[in-house]
């Protein structure tokens, strides 16, 4: 089945390793924990060992800065780096919404790329075509969801196999 789909629409490594992704992997943005963090969260993929720690400064309901640490493959780390850039300046609500869009883009075949303006984050769309790497791309966003839930005092329900943990900053 996967073979048929691939025959119609061949999957290329260039879909996964877009220039933007490799650039963020080589020169990560916002690397390191933030001293002024309001909340932080961390998560890891037990099957492959990728890990992300995220700290988020929130002022008046707005994400004023994000910092990340951790280690792992290019997809997990560049996804986190791109996320910290793209989420800076957003409201909690809008950050959450974008997180939903990205997670849908990675996991839902029917997702319409033109339905939202993803900016640079669109580069992550190719990850969806590499099923074993989807969890690498998702990790940072799961951790963001946890951090934001902590900020609002809500809990997230997550049926993925990525364990995340929230700590107050």
């Amino acid at each position: 089945m996967a073979g048929n789909r691939e025959a119609q629409n061949p999957v290329d490594l260039d879909d996964l390793y877009r220039d933007v992704i490799l650039d963020h992997y080589r020169s990560p943005r916002n690397r390191g924990a933030r001293d002024d963090a309001s909340v932080s969260a961390e998560g890891f993929n037990p099957s492959c060992g990728d890990e992300i720690q995220l700290s988020v400064a929130i002022i008046n309901g707005e994400l004023s800065g994000l910092g990340f640490g951790g280690s792992g493959c290019s997809i997990s780390q560049s996804s986190a780096s791109m996320m910290t850039e793209a989420m800076t300046g957003r409201s909690i609500e809008s950050a959450r919404e974008m997180s939903q869009h990205i997670q849908q883009m990675l996991t839902d075949d029917e997702f319409d790329l033109d339905s939202v303006d993803l900016g640079d984050l669109e580069a992550l769309s190719g990850v969806a075509r590499f099923p074993v790497r989807i969890k690498c791309g998702l990790l940072a966003w799961k951790v963001l969801d946890q951090a934001l839930a902590n900020a609002t005092g809500e809990s997230v329900t997550d049926d993925s196999d990525i364990p995340t943990r929230v700590t107050s900053g």
């Binding site: 691939e6 999957v11 490594l13 996964l16 390793y17 490799l22 080589r26 099957s47 492959c48 060992g49 990728d50 280690s71 792992g72 493959c73 290019s74 997809i75 590499f130 074993v132 790497r133 690498c136």
Partner: protein
């Protein structure tokens, strides 16, 4: 380039149907044999043949099919005994896999331990020879001790001596590491274990497929391995134990097949090895495992070992010429077999595996179920290429090309 392999690789490859398939439009290069090996047609036929001609439950029916199936199943037990030099087929217990064999031992032997008793493992254990013993320590108050790696990343007699003492009750070690490829001096360590009265267990999951394993030479009390890593089907493991020791162990799982007389209050146990085979076993896969052992016997384990060593030597030589490539394990290729764990440049092993996969090359990436060993080596993960009797030099060459391509994609010049 001439190859020194003693095997007719082309003839061997022809017997593995999967080796003629393509992956992403390229011929499959299967280098993940430490995870599981491919199966020859004879194994596939034996599996289908059992279901099409003699399917029946064993040891209980009085009809012809049951008799044929029972004979076929028990014949494989004899084959396994002969394969590892066991004095009696009654010493061969079929389990699901190495993991279950080791859990059987941890559960039954562990029940005898007291606080302060010591269980000696090594720094290189697969989780399957670590986690069951951790459970034992929680139940009993026994403690774990570890044989460390020496400077050459090997388990040696000296590092073993440092961990074994008068409190040692159990020594359970990996014979051939699934990460380092190194082979531990089991016979010497077994001697040390015996001298302090400890039980000696060997995890032969990687060694039984690649080198001749004779339980008499190992001097061990128990040996565990898996059929699926040696051309056999999944779902079959072996536990060998000395007869008098197995006889003295309590059962692990209770139920049908493993009993002699059952009353409402209590039961007596079946004779060895059935005492340890509760319920309907994996009849079909055990029978197919027999075909795998026949295949290995026909080729000859000495030749398999020589081939794997030769190919590993070649691979170490080619890989170590790549700039930025680190190989883990013993420096001298003569000290390892069939497994090469490595990291290349600063490219994460998952990226390496994805890129190689696009060229049809299957390798493993990650912690290889040996997280503590990864920590000892100081790396979060590695890539791993592992070979078997059907692999050839051209596949090592493909691996090297694939790595150079991965390097280019991550912005390194195509050196070497």
């Amino acid at each position: 380039m001439t190859t020194a392999t003693p095997l007719d690789i082309a003839a061997i490859r022809e017997q593995f149907p999967i080796l003629s398939r393509e992956v992403h439009g390229r011929p499959l290069v299967y280098l993940d044999n430490a995870a599981t090996t491919q199966k020859p047609q004879s194994v596939i036929d034996a599996l289908a043949g059992y279901y099409s001609t003699m399917n029946a439950n064993i040891h209980r029916g009085l009809h012809t099919l049951a008799e044929e199936a029972t004979t076929a199943y028990e014949d494989v037990r004899k084959q396994v005994a002969a394969f590892i030099g066991a004095p009696s087929h009654r010493e061969i217990v079929f389990t699901r896999n190495t993991t279950e064999s080791l859990n059987l031992l941890a559960y039954t032997l562990g029940a005898r331990l007291r606080p302060g008793d010591e269980i000696v493992l090594t720094a290189a254990e697969h989780h399957s020879n670590l986690v069951p013993w951790q459970l034992v320590t929680q139940r009993t108050g026994a403690v774990l001790r570890f044989v460390e790696l020496n400077d050459d990343q090997q388990i040696d007699v000296d590092t073993a001596r440092a961990a074994i003492n008068a409190n040692t009750r159990i020594v359970s070690i990996v014979h051939m590491s699934n990460v380092l490829g190194s082979i531990a001096p089991v016979a010497e360590i077994a001697e040390m274990a015996r001298s302090v009265g400890a039980t000696m267990i060997v995890d032969a999951a990687q060694s039984a497929p690649h080198i001749p394993v004779d339980v008499n030479d190992l001097g061990a009390d128990y040996v565990a391995f898996s059929a699926h890593k040696m051309l056999g089907p999944t779902g079959v493991g072996v536990l060998w134990g000395r007869r008098e020791l197995l006889a003295d162990l309590d059962p692990f799982l209770g139920g049908g097949e493993m009993i002699s007389v059952v009353t409402r209050e209590e039961s007596s146990w079946a004779a060895l090895p059935h005492k340890f085979e509760a319920g309907t076993p994996n009849i079909a896969d055990v029978i197919a495992f027999g075909a795998a052992l026949s295949f290995l016997n026909e080729v000859g384990m000495d030749k398999v070992a020589a081939h794997d060593a030769e190919l590993t030597h070649y691979a170490v030589e080619r890989l170590s010429r790549l700039e930025g490539l680190d190989i883990y394990g013993p420096a001298d290729p003569a000290d390892r077999s069939a497994v090469i764990a490595f990291n290349y440049r600063d490219i994460h092993s998952h990226d390496i595996a994805t890129i190689l996969d696009r060229s049809g090359i299957a390798v493993r990436a990650g912690h290889h179920c040996a997280q503590p060993l990864m920590r000892t080596l100081g790396v979060p993960a590695t890539a791993r290429a592992s070979f078997y009797l059907y692999n050839e030099r051209s596949e090592v060459d493909a691996l090297v090309d694939g790595l150079l391509e991965a390097g280019e994609r991550f912005g390194f010049e195509r050196g070497a």
